[in-house]
Amino acid sequence: MAPVQPLLQVDGVTLQYKTREHLVTATYRVSFDVHHSDRFVLLGPSGCGKSTLLKAVGGYLAPVEGRIRLKGRDVTRPGRDRVMVFQEFDQLLPWKTVRQNVMFALLESGTLAGREAEERAMTYIEKVNLTRFADAYPHTLSGGMKQRVAIARGMAMEPDVLLMDEPFAALDALTRRKMQDDLLQLWEGTGFTILFVTHSIPEAVRIGNRVLLLSPHPGQVWAELDSDGQDRVDSATGRRLSERIHDMLFAGHAVEDKAAARA
């Protein structure tokens, strides 16, 4: 068997964006590989450039240095092979029903047409348990339901990788927990590849099978950890995974030492 090529390769990527007054470096030479069926989590405090990194993978922003490749091809623009799910509830088109929202993605991207589009849309709406609400307009749905529609829309595209930008951050704690379980269950069924951004340590530990820790200002890779979702105690240190992550993120000095050592 030939060596497995990573699905998504992020290689030495530096990202910068301009605000009105500043040129900001969001990430500095970040590298990681995402393999097929990974649930890859980008975790870091605000200002570590994780969302910017996700947008770059989405093709909305070009790296100033380094390369982003999907299946070996350079990412240059947004495309139907990488679908974003956002945190904001307004990612659904308010003038379209749940069914039409999912179909819109399939039709406009030229993925499917006519009956096939409708059938595929309904299949995924059923997967997120919203069949009863297929003809409801988004404003009549709760926040969690809206996010489920967005996930259904993303999954219906059957993209190479589903890019999720803190999709549950605006939900209440109970709904959030439920959505995490649901997402894992959906993954069990289909094994789609997820690149997931969050700043919540418990969420990262639950959702991810691999977690990339990023340090802030600018974002740099700090560590890459494996997780089995159980937050197990590490035999070497005697601490839980979430505690280890917490220590790394909040031991501010360690960041500066590391940065100094690298420089």
Binding site: Y60, P78, F86, D90, A105, E108, Y137, P138
Partner: protein, 274 residues
Amino acid sequence: MREQDFGVVRKPLSVLERIYGNGFVRKGLILAVLAAIWQVYGLYLDNPLLLPTFFATLRSFFERIASGELPLKALTSIEVLLQGYAIGLALALVFTIAAITTRIGNDLLETLTAMFNPLPAIALLPLALIWFGLGSPSIVFVLVHAVLWPVALNTHSGFQGVSGTLRMVGRNYGLSGVRYVWKILIPAAFPSILSGLKIGWAFAWRTLIAAELVFGTTSGSGGLGWFIYENKNTLDIPAVFAGLFTVILIGLLVESLIFRTVERHTVRRWGMHV
């Protein structure tokens, strides 16, 4: 817990309560009271040259409709209005598309709307008369000004207000150029566009009647404004009132039938009304 502890769980409202709950009924009641006051005061004044009674006005209104005069005048007015409205909308579309695609177009639109939006369109009528002469082109010119700026201003600010998330969603599914404007920007900005259309309509209607008061549109067959002016000259005051009545009626009909219907089927259904 026993059922009667709740008092009322669910009970139908009485017929009277339900009738009073209807907005049309309440507003109809107000109109009836106003008409009654008018009628009584008209009778008391007993001077049809100053204030004809409500029923005299109504009679004149129906007579003029039966003779075909009022419908003809109204039609003339609406015809000119639609010309001005259509040209104004087309120009507004061109300006806003230029404004969202280029920075200089944006600056141009902002400057022009800042200049012309506060200027009452009717103030341009004397100039229009010199440029286009006595006739409908002058009125159309003024109407275009009444419509263009508010519609362009609202549409543009609507486009600018479209959330970054929706824009990214559109691009994610491969929309660009005209399809992006048509499938994402216009529906997302529709509440603003619709309110622009309503303001443009109201401005145009007032401007039209005002302009017609100055002169008839074309030889002999002026619009409603001209009808009011003519009848004032012949001291047929009930007809003046009937003319005003028609102006109000058409304004109300367009607002409540056309715009309200569009609103109910779009922004209200989508939960986008502000």
